[in-house]
């Protein structure tokens, strides 16, 4: 149990998917202007990543590896993730419209979120077990969500500040993200 906790802390704080591994920057910049959006996106990423993480692990272990097709990982994973996201979106829209409103609208964004794809690949590269993959998928996603929410809090204020014109919006957002990454240096060596 302790190992899993350590793994989780490492994924959330120390090797934060976004700030230490640079994955998922596009939606990070896109959905962090408002706190509500950030929270919705964070939840959606957790939801999808846990599903994608487990499914791609299963596909890798039971389809690709037995046939020696490891080199097809990229294409297989992206296909599975894209279909999964689209399926979940359709499913939610029809069956649970309430949840769809809060979460579903962020789903399409996730298809091309390299964080999802990246975590699936990391899971395989690091040769995690299924349970470990589940833990890392969840914690990487939680780390993404955490960074997103923190960033949104800061960004909401920056949007109100007198930022010089050429720096407005994305440029200042990137600099701030840099500060965020800097702050997360604090956790180095903790796990």
């Amino acid at each position: 149990m302790g190992d899993y906790a350590l793994l989780a802390i490492s994924c959330i704080l120390v090797n934060n998917i976004l700030l230490a591994q640079y994955l998922g920057c596009c939606p990070f910049m896109g959905t962090s202007k408002k706190m509500e959006t950030a929270i919705g996106m964070g939840m959606a990423v957790i939801f999808v990543l846990v599903m994608a993480g487990s499914i791609t692990w299963l596909i890798d272990a039971y389809v690709l590896k037995p046939f020696g097709l490891e080199y097809l990982r990229t294409i297989a994973f992206i296909l599975v993730i894209a279909s999964l996201v689209q399926f979940v979106e359709m499913f939610l829209r029809k069956s649970i419209p309430g949840l769809y409103k809060g979460l579903g609208i962020f789903l399409p964004l996730i298809t091309t979120n390299c964080a999802v794809m990246g975590v699936c690949l990391i899971n395989i590269n690091e040769e995690y077990t299924f349970i470990q993959s589940l833990v890392t998928s969840f914690s990487y996603a939680a780390g993404f969500g955490l960074a997103l929410v923190l960033f949104a809090g800061v960004r909401e204020r920056i949007l109100l500040a007198r930022v010089p014109k050429p720096l407005e919006d994305t440029a200042i957002g990137l600099v701030t993200a840099g500060m965020l990454a800097l702050a997360f240096f604090a956790f180095k060596g903790m796990a």
């Binding site: 080199y71 294409i75 180095k188 060596g189």
Partner: protein, 196 residues
Amino acid sequence: MREIIKMIVVLTVLSSFSGGLLAAIRGGTKEKIEYQQLVFVKGPAIRNILEGCSNDPIVDRFKIKDGDIERSFFVGVFDGKANTVAFEGVGKGFGGDIGLMVGVSIDDDKIIGMGVTTHSETPGIGTKAKTDPKFSNQFKGLAVVEPYKIKPDGGGIDAISGATVTSRGVCVGVTNAAEIYKRLKPQIADKIKEFK
């Protein structure tokens, strides 16, 4: 309904086509890739450690089962005698695992050299572990019995200034490697006889 069928057909054909194409390319590059992996990841360190050997250690390699793991050993031939092996050890550094290669002479069980292969340390400071010969040379000639420690921890190795964690990680890696060596020594001795 027709639309769905068309969609299914297109997607299936496209996927299988891409599968085929990739498999073909894969077939053509497989050998090359494996060799490249060895040359670039471990090659420099091996060559550095087994400096002056008369063979190509990457070609002259053998594998030994250590529990579940298969370990690769690279043989160095000195003065016409295959009396040295280089193999891997792993330590934990500032930014993740530090992979290193240790060369041991089986004649006198002494380390003849050490080199860092992979790491993700801070450039400039932690990387000195890989680039600074002063640091790695300290391991030369040490016996494989002792646990290696940096001076602040009570050992005899001078840490790289400003990179205590990295230095400590390297020491742990070398210690690990030494343990592997002690454990597998009989098999190594067996196998190495094949190279004359």
